[in-house]
Amino acid sequence: MAGVSDNTGDGALSRRALLRQGAALGLGLPPAVALLDACGGSSSGGTSPKNSIAGTAVMSNYPSWMGAHVIAEFERQHPGSKIRQITSASSSIAGTVQQLRSGTYDFALADASATGQAVAVGIVAPLDWSKIPNIKFVSQSFRSGFPHGIPTDYGKVGIGYRPDLVGEKISSWHDVWRLAPKFSGKVVFIDIDRDCMGSTLKYLGFSANSAVPSQLSACKDALVSIKPHLQAFLNTNVGQGLQDGSTVIAMDWDYDVALNKQKQPKIEWVFPSEGMVAYIEGWIAVKSSPRLPLVETFMNYALEPRQYADFVNTTGTAYVEPAATAFVAKSIADNPVLRPGHAIADVEYEHFLGQATALWTNIWQEVKAA
């Protein structure tokens, strides 16, 4: 990942990038585009190699994290343009940066933290927003929270629980900490530091992006105090135990609770009174990519409300584009778990922590080792 001789972060052309660009210019372009160039191009001023959207753009993505018909429709409307997904997107910051530096990808799915890190490393291409006018459909709060790419989805961290088994109403993180000893071994937390520590910081009344050592120390103490009562820290199927009651309280993502609630209606979702932390994900372009025009055209296409709704309907995620609501399935659009209404104002979005990342990591490891 962090090889000392890798200069892509400085904007210098690495040997790999040089070879890829050479291949794109010399061999990769379809004959039709070359012919257009030779003839002076279209009325829009020609499709010079620099601005051509012909070719194949490679995307790093999660499996099934794309509208079912989006790519096929795009390729049908843009002959000669192809989007290829490699579904091995990393959920870790370092993993994402490592992938972006590999020279394999033209654009990638990443959360705001990983994007911030990638920007700091210097491997994210600034987008030409004039070529992505459909960004206007995205709510301003998400655009502000994800300024280096196009936001695609977000996920809130709240509480899923079984009122029938707990026997009382839960309305806050404070309730979770209070009830954990009573339901020892039946409480699960998320196994991702940003979400778990972020939520704990909200419980303590601090910012979920805090870089203050004393606040993070208090966060560690709070997590260490509840750890003996936790069944597990999980990063997949976090709320699955809520279905059969083996878990009665879960710190969980909204989409996971919504999914489990479909199978077990007794599960309830809580928007904690102390507030919530949420991640924002989106697509970012890789600086070394020779296919930025194609990437920007595809980004713009994917943000068209109908196409974006296809993505939401395929993934079931909480969405960032109100204009797509008319095309989104009612089960998602009307789901109070995924669409919290005015309460969204109390959500704090995760952003890149910079130098404090190491401090977070150390504290997270201390929690896990305790």
Partner: protein
């Protein structure tokens, strides 16, 4: 004659090249990285030949984790030996056809994905799972071991048991069965026979099994991740975290080198003990 020698040496070249490129070079690289430092914002590594990564390793968090890994590795290796030795002995005492069948039974699980086998233990050990229900039916008590150090130990013993059984089997399979009959004729009861005849003859295989199981078990990180529920931190998990999540290659390298040094010390100690062991 000389031509033969040249040809012999040429035969070594592919293996030597492979070892050099994929074993020695990465080892040197990791050692060099372990003395570097990294800016965790820009991911830029500088090589100032600092030992700060090693001094950070001496912190209580990492030492406690290393000791936990060591304890779990020793415990699970012992568990594998206790289960593997009688099993290997039992297999060698069967007719050749049955032996092949039983050996296949030991090896066949290896044909299934390691991840699938490990995840299957989540289903077996979880609350309301088959083991819990069986225990509740028999004793009236629930057995809830999933996401505890016990479930990690069960997972490691299960996964590594064949690596213990096979070398012991190879050692015992070469033993002339007449030796067992002779011991019985001389009045040795089964337990004494096992202790005085089988065990000494199985020692080379047992020691090989201890090394094959103990070394990877020490750095194991997948099984603790899946069966430990993220609550039991092992040294392997920290190393993976430093490389893949934090991206701190120098510190991750220092942890990896430190783990290697600890394992080498243990292996040297085992080698020193081995002759005395064999002589008994």
């Amino acid at each position: 004659m000389r031509r033969h020698r040249v040809l012999e040496r040429l035969l070594v070249v592919p293996t030597a090249a492979w070892t050099l490129v994929f074993f020695v070079a990465p080892l040197v690289l990791i050692t060099v990285f372990s003395f570097g430092s990294e800016n965790l914002v820009t991911f830029r590594i500088s090589f100032g030949w600092t030992a700060s990564n090693y001094s950070a390793f001496s912190g209580s968090l990492y030492l406690a984790t290393l000791l936990r890994s060591l304890g779990l590795s020793l415990g699970t290796t012992l568990g594998c030996a206790l289960l593997g030795l009688p099993l290997a002995y039992f297999i060698t005492r069967q007719r050749p056809g049955i032996q092949r069948l039983l050996l296949a039974g030991v090896i066949v699980p290896f044909w299934t994905s390691f991840l699938v086998r490990t995840y299957s233990w989540v289903n077996l050990l979880q609350s309301q799972g088959p083991i819990d229900r069986l225990a509740h039916g028999l004793t009236g008590h629930h057995v809830e071991v999933l996401y505890t150090p016990t479930s990690i130990a069960i997972g490691i013993v299960y996964s590594y048991l064949p690596l213990m059984v096979l070398p012991i089997y190879v050692a015992l399979e070469r033993v002339n069965p007449d030796l067992y009959d002779a011991a019985a004729d001389l009045g040795a009861r089964p337990w004494r026979q096992f202790r005085r005849v089988v065990l000494p003859l199985a020692r080379p295989g047992l020691i090989a099994g201890i090394i094959i199981v103990g070394v990877p078990a020490m750095g194991e990180y997948v099984i603790p991740e899946i069966l430990g529920g993220g609550k039991t931190l092992m040294i392997g998990n920290i190393i993976v975290n430093e490389f893949l999540d934090v991206g701190n290659y120098p510190f991750g390298s220092a942890l990896a080198v430190s783990l290697m040094v600890v394992l080498m010390i243990l292996l040297f100690a085992l080698r020193r003990v081995q002759p005395a062991f064999e002589a008994r």
